[in-house]
């Protein structure tokens, strides 16, 4: 953890100091989502966020998603629970998320972005907070309203997603100290970069399996010759 005890009275380096800093950074999430321009700048450049809080938000995001699939009333969501695999669902969110962070870092370092990989990851995780705050109560709400009142549900759903998208935009803007236009371009470039990474991974594995197959067949050939 790169957390430093700055405001706490506890001795530097102690668990108590780390804990105080952690709690302060989790609480700071509220500031970030309501005042994103100021919040994301301080989050990274004034070290008010911690990786621990970021991990927490990411974990809560995954948890919210799983709870949503499992406990939202069937009137609003049709998740085939008999087929759903929690690990698969988590991975389907986590892998693109991390790939996009990586891709953004790869591209922004080349074009004088100020953010480190940990900064990008941290800011992205903080941007997920509205999803958690809105979607968790929505699970309860879905069990209290009927199909005809689905409009409330879908509006809240839309708000949570639009808010998150907006926060991602501001986060990248502040972390890299880019102009809005440049941020927008880099968001598209990031998506493209993620696809390239995916392609490279696929090529790598296909080549790896070919190479493995070559050595296996070589071994077999030799084994047949010898016996």
């Amino acid at each position: 953890m790169n957390a430093r005890s700055t405001e706490s009275n506890a001795a530097p380096g102690s668990f108590r100091a780390w804990w105080d800093k952690y709690i302060a950074s989790v609480r700071y999430g509220k500031h970030v989502i309501f005042r994103p321009f100021d919040g994301f700048w301080d989050l990274v450049h004034e070290h008010r966020g911690t990786l621990g809080a970021a991990h927490t938000f990411l974990f809560l995001f995954l948890l919210t998603y799983i709870l949503k699939l499992m406990f939202t009333n069937f009137q609003f969501i049709s998740a085939p629970l008999q087929y759903i695999n929690i690990y698969e669902q988590c991975a389907s969110l986590l892998i693109p998320f991390l790939t996009l962070c990586l891709s953004n870092w790869c591209l922004s370092t080349l074009f004088d972005g100020k953010g480190h990989l940990t900064d990008i990851y941290m800011a992205m995780c903080y941007a997920l907070v509205p999803f958690i705050l809105i979607q968790l109560p929505m699970i309860l709400l879905s069990n209290m309203i009927s199909f005809d009142e689905a409009a409330y549900y879908s509006v809240l759903n839309a708000i949570s997603i639009i808010w998150c998208c907006f926060l991602v935009f501001v986060a990248l803007l502040e972390v890299h100290d880019y102009s809005p236009g440049k941020t927008l371009i880099f968001i598209f470039a990031t998506i493209f970069g993620a696809l390239v990474i995916l392609f490279l991974v696929l090529v790598f594995f296909s080549l790896l399996s070919d190479a493995a197959a070559y050595f296996i067949s070589l071994y077999r050939e030799i084994a047949f010759r010898l016996y």
Partner: protein, 504 residues
């Protein structure tokens, strides 16, 4: 390094997209596991008890025919008479059902007083309320109307009208007659809809043309990216012809359509089954999660590819319609709401299967399926399960909701996967104001609308029954912070006063 490899393996495992493999009508050996089936909410196939069983199969020999049937094209039922268009032999066989057996009563192969008197590939027959016979005499380019003694009454020839392309010959393929004697015919090469002849025999145009569906991409491609020469060689946007028609007791025409691409089914652009009203609009009710398109999933086989192609349709007196699929030899039953009741049948040589499904008719609730390649007619009678479904559906339509629910409970004993039964019971429970229990049933069938309705009432009664505690809780939530705030203020004031006093 080991860690890295594990990470990469994780990535590899996640690369293939999550595909829920279709559990089609195939066992582990790839063959059919059940004769009758239905689809659940997820579009997965659920085996079910047999709704229909084969009562008997009529062959040429069973009917005592000297020349065996050759490419029969159509069936028509009138009372207890069954008419078979033995198209390849240019004759129509009239068969009577008596005491469970079928006997040949008449062979219709000529019209008295017409020229020519004989038929040339008669492909369909219909009978009006007065007992007059109408025959699609396809290769004689006419529709013949004759009385029950086979005397010619009228010939409907090629319409002498500018809307009918005079270069084309009039090839009527299928026809229906409504209660007032109007004739609606389906003619080969006519894509404007059904050719309509009034009671007095005059041609009055077309109804129910298949609307042309042009996607934006098609339009852009054709307008900007193709030359005039290319365009003239491509198929133009024309409506397609219907495959078959049937007129129900209320005068609505049910039409089936087989000319569509598989992807058209995805957003229900294909509409393989239509119910046409008097001005030709499609008014088929589709209240299920899936539109009535026949099979929802299938195994691609070398011979039977693609979606169901519904060759014929017949409508029972209680508005349940039943379609006959050419691709896999299936018979699909749908209730008036468009919910699939059952599906059965297969393409095979055995009893209860078909080689060339072509026409379907009903006699009461018995089904008669014509096989043009096997030259046979299979007679199906409903099993106890099938009869229960009809009974429950009829009871519901006639307003006996509670009796209907009891019948649905009987159905559930035979097939616990039957969604319609859960909905039927739920509706009855809702009428009895058992909202909580009704919700359980609707949830079982994934019926969102009805669940929502039941839930609203449930919530209402819940609130009304617990109004006192609810008001107390809400009031407490509002008042307690107010009081706490007031106390805090007072305490602060007191402290302030104390401090000031102390300073003095």
């Amino acid at each position: 390094m080991k860690r890295m490899i594990r990470l990469l393996l994780l990535c590899l495992a996640l690369v293939p997209a999550v595909l829920y493999g279709p559990a089609a009508l195939a066992g582990e050996d790839g063959y059919t596991t059940s004769y009758t089936y239905n689809y659940d909410y997820w579009g997965d196939l659920r085996e079910s008890p047999d709704a229909y069983r084969v009562d008997q199969v009529l062959y040429s020999a069973t009917l005592g025919l000297e020349t065996p049937m050759n490419k029969p094209q159509s069936l028509y039922v009138h009372g207890s008479d069954l008419y078979i268009c033995d198209t390849g032999n240019n004759r129509i066989l009239q068969v009577r059902r008596e005491n469970g057996g079928f006997t040949l009563t008449r062979v219709i192969d000529a019209v008295k007083g017409a020229s020519p008197e004989t038929f040339n590939t008669p492909s369909d027959i219909a009978i009006d309320g007065a007992g007059n016979l109408y025959v699609c005499d396809t290769n004689n380019n006419r529709i013949v109307k004759m009385d029950s003694e086979l005397n010619l009454l009228r010939e409907y020839l090629k319409p002498d009208d500018s809307t009918f392309d005079q270069n084309l010959s009039f090839l009527p393929k299928r026809l229906v007659v409504d209660s007032s004697g109007r004739v609606f015919a389906l003619a080969t090469n006519v894509n404007k809809g059904l050719v309509k002849f009034e009671t007095d025999g005059t041609f009055t145009g077309y109804i129910g043309a298949n609307p042309v569906v042009i996607t934006m991409w098609d339009y852009i491609w054709k307008s900007f990216f193709t030359t005039k020469e290319q365009r003239s060689q491509q198929a133009s946007f024309v409506p397609t012809e219907y495959e078959n028609i049937y007129i129900d007791s209320e005068g609505f025409i049910y039409a089936t359509n087989v000319n569509f691409e598989e992807y058209d089914l995805m957003y229900d652009n294909a509409k393989p089954i239509r119910k046409l009203n008097s001005i030709g609009n499609d008014i088929l009710v589709k209240n299920d999660h899936y539109p009535p398109i026949g099979d929802l999933q299938w195994v691609e086989e070398s011979t039977d590819k693609g979606p169901s192609k519904l060759k014929d349709i017949t409508v029972l007196d209680n508005d349940i319609y039943i379609a006959f699929d050419r691709t896999r030899g299936r018979i699909f039953g749908y209730d008036p709401q468009g919910i699939m009741l059952w599906a059965f049948g297969t393409k095979d040589n055995s009893e209860g299967s078909f080689l060339g499904p072509i026409s379907l008719e009903h006699m009461g609730t018995d089904l008669l399926a014509l096989d043009e390649n096997g030259c046979s007619i299979t007679v199906f009678t409903p099993t106890e399960y099938g009869q229960l479904i009809y009974k429950a559906s009829d009871e519901y339509l006639s307003g006996q909701y509670d009796e209907s629910a009891d019948t649905w409970r009987e159905v559930l004993k035979l097939n616990a996967n039957y969604n319609l039964a859960y909905i039927g019971i739920g509706r009855s429970l809702m009428r009895q104001e058992e909202y909580g229990e009704a919700m359980e049933y609707f949830k079982m069938a994934f019926d969102r609308e009805n669940y929502g309705r039941a839930y609203r009432y449930y919530r209402k009664t819940l609130v009304e029954d617990n109004i006192v505690p609810l008001v107390i809780v809400v009031a407490a939530l509002l008042i307690v912070p107010l009081i706490v705030g007031r106390i805090k203020n007072m305490r602060a004031e007191v402290e302030e006063y104390e401090r000031k006093k102390h300073r003095k």
